[in-house]
């Protein structure tokens, strides 16, 4: 049965679509979960390698009589993953190959081997090289088994089963996985079986890869492994939340990708990968703290705060020097805007034709000037800087000193009343 015939058979949404989506979702969740650990442990390329290298394992298993998605195939996949990892290590130890080079050699070779086996034994293996590369999610609902009276796709069953096994396995060993991920040396020193933990992770990778093969094929598995986790990493910091967010992102991409593929009449696996990519882009833009939008906003906010504080400090210094401030001290649009805001928020007020500080404004201004002069005192004490070089750093740092640090600096510089220029340091308001 070809894709064209199948597609022409249904033009409307049906339970078949639902099963296909369910399969994709289940497989995506499993990959995202495993992928979170791979990404955090900087093993993304090893995940890429394993997803390619399981092919000969699958091919040999099918040749030996295993059914696609059956136990023999799963075992073959895990065996291939083990072989991959061992080979990379042997190449490093015995051949002096760097990790990336060794990985490149091993996974291309094993993948090529797999394709050759499948092509040469084409009469006995029903696996098409195209399918290997990008799966046939659309045909998955047609190969069903009967479970508890319900006809469900075999691929869904495999996917759900693998998800359950992997989820339970990782949940049970989560603390060990977490520790090893963040500091494998310390974990080893404490006695954790790091090799076993890593081995378990790689076996899980092999399992989810094989479970995903029919749905999305070897290369797009990599998308489901790495991209949701990378996206989640941009959004949250705690590992277990990251894993859950990644799984959610994977499921959403599976659903949206499949629907988009149906709507635009193209490959579901490819669409899922594209949706995953879009999720990443969106996250990179809108992520709180790290996203592009957040960073630009933070920079603008800082600039605004600096302008406001500089204006307050300017007025305060003018008062101190008993020199008048020009009736219109605002020159640039930014300073104008700051002035309007300060007036509106009750920090400055206009009296007798000039701007002056209100009580609130005075307190804030003193904070800034205090920070400035304390920093000059600290630099004068702890750094070898000539007197006329103290002002510029203080102009910058005065906006970043907080109350607690100010008190500590004050204690350090001996509660001197004046800065190196002899000007008095205002008290903490």
């Amino acid at each position: 049965m070809t894709i064209d015939t199948a597609a022409s058979m249904w033009g409307e949404f049906s339970a078949m679509h639902a099963w296909a989506i369910a399969t994709a979702a289940v497989v995506a969740a499993g990959c995202a979960l495993v992928g979170t650990l791979l990404v955090v442990r900087r093993m993304s390329l090893l995940g890429d390698a394993i997803s390619h290298a399981v092919l000969p394992g699958i091919a040999v298993a099918v040749l030996a009589g295993g059914r696609p998605g059956g136990l023999l195939v799963l075992v073959g996949a895990v065996a291939a993953a083990v072989v991959t990892v061992l080979l990379v290590q042997v190449l490093r130890r015995e051949g002096g190959l760097a990790a990336d080079a060794g990985t490149g050699v091993v996974f291309t070779t094993l993948f090529a081997l797999g394709v050759v086996i499948i092509t040469a034994a084409a009469s006995r293996i029903d696996l098409d090289p195209g399918c290997i590369l990008y799966g046939i999610l659309e045909l998955v609902p047609f190969d069903t088994v009967r479970v508890a009276g319900v006809e469900m796709p075999r691929a869904f069953l495999t996917g759900a089963g693998v998800l359950a096994v992997v989820a339970v396995g990782l949940a049970v060993t989560w603390k060990e996985q977490l520790f090893t991920a963040f500091d494998s040396d310390a974990a080893r020193a404490v006695g954790l079986p790091v090799a076993a933990v890593t081995g378990g992770l790689l076996a899980a990778t092999a399992l989810v890869t094989v479970a995903s093969f029919e749905a999305v094929g070897a290369i797009l598995v990599v998308a489901m492994l790495v991209v949701p986790a990378a996206t989640a990493e941009l959004l949250v910091r705690r590992l277990h939340v990251m894993a859950l967010v990644a799984m959610l992102l994977g499921v959403v991409a599976a659903v949206l990708g499949y629907l988009a593929a149906w709507r635009f009449d193209t490959s579901a696996a490819g669409m899922i990968a594209v949706v995953l990519g879009l999720e990443y882009v969106v996250a990179a833009i809108v992520a709180p703290e790290d996203g592009v939008v957040a960073r630009v906003a933070a920079r603008l906010a800082l600039g605004w705060r600096v302008t406001c504080e500089d204006t307050l400090a300017l007025l305060w210094r003018a008062d101190e020097a008993a020199a008048g401030v020009a009736p219109q001290p605002f020159r640039s649009p930014g300073e104008w805007a700051a002035g309007l805001w300060l007036a509106a928020s009750g920090r400055i007020a206009r009296e007798a034709g000039r701007w002056g500080l209100t009580a609130i404004g005075r307190a804030e201004a003193e904070t800034v000037v205090r920070s400035h002069r304390l920093w000059e005192a600290w630099l004068g004490r702890h750094a070898d800087l000539p007197l006329d070089h103290l002002h510029p750093p203080a102009e910058w740092i005065e906006h970043h000193l907080g109350a607690d640090l100010r008190r500590r600096i004050e204690a350090d510089v001996g509660a001197e009343e004046s800065d190196p220029h002899g000007r008095s340091i205002p008290r903490e308001p």
């Binding site: 051949g95 990336d100 050699v105 090529a112 394709v115 050759v116 092509t119 941009l234 990968a273």
Partner: protein, 286 residues
Amino acid sequence: MNSLAAIPYNTLVVAAAVAVVGFASGVVGCFGVLRRRALAGDAAAHATLAGVVAAFVVTGRRDLPTLLVGAFVAAMASLGCLVVIRRFTRTRDDAATALVLSVSFGIGIVLLSGLSARGISGAGGLEQFLLGHTAALTATDAITLAVVSAAVVLVVWAGLKEATLVSFDPAFAAATGWPVAVIDYALVALVAAMVVVGLPAAGAVLVTALVVIPPVAARQWTDRVPTMLILAGVIGLVAAVGGVAASAAVPRLATGPTIVLVAAGLFAVSFFCAPERGWFARRRGV
């Protein structure tokens, strides 16, 4: 000489071109391997599929130069994405590579599958770019590939000292006034070019093996960069020609996998038999 005359002219030309492509890939791949960035080319390679299909969709033409220009644009765009990700996000390099690799391939599959679902004529041949297929190459196309490859080798040879310096000690290079970023970028662009040129022979999925395996194999035999380049070129050449010849023996077999297996065989020989670094040599306590 008589048997040679019996081989069709086209096949000879294609074989010669594949040899040059294999040589150039091995040479160019050396610097990626030496700088421990062997798999950067893989992201570019997977992106080429989208470029090939997009070129066909945009221009309506299926001639090789058009498709390969599209592939090159896509390759450079994917490498550009890697730079953007590194610059603007916290995502680490290995995850970024895997991400760009798989998503760009997904885009390619969406385009390819979309075309074939709409029954657009001429789209079928594009699938051959996945795993390689030299049988359809014309002599003109083959010569184009060979010329580009030869140009790449010449550039590498001319700038050998600059490339070696920047690969070995970029801090010293920068301190002594070399434009490290520019040279770096040029090396990356050369790898992208060879990845694209290698597409007809090895396909998008496996072409990265042509720039990774020969240099790694060559390194086992020598401790000098010029020698390593030449050896890698020769190994790449043998792998490319051998692979194409082997795949001709089995009709359904794509050329990519056979090229990789020949290269892997040569690597295995190098791994075991090289003097000093080889496995046997070390066992003997040399």
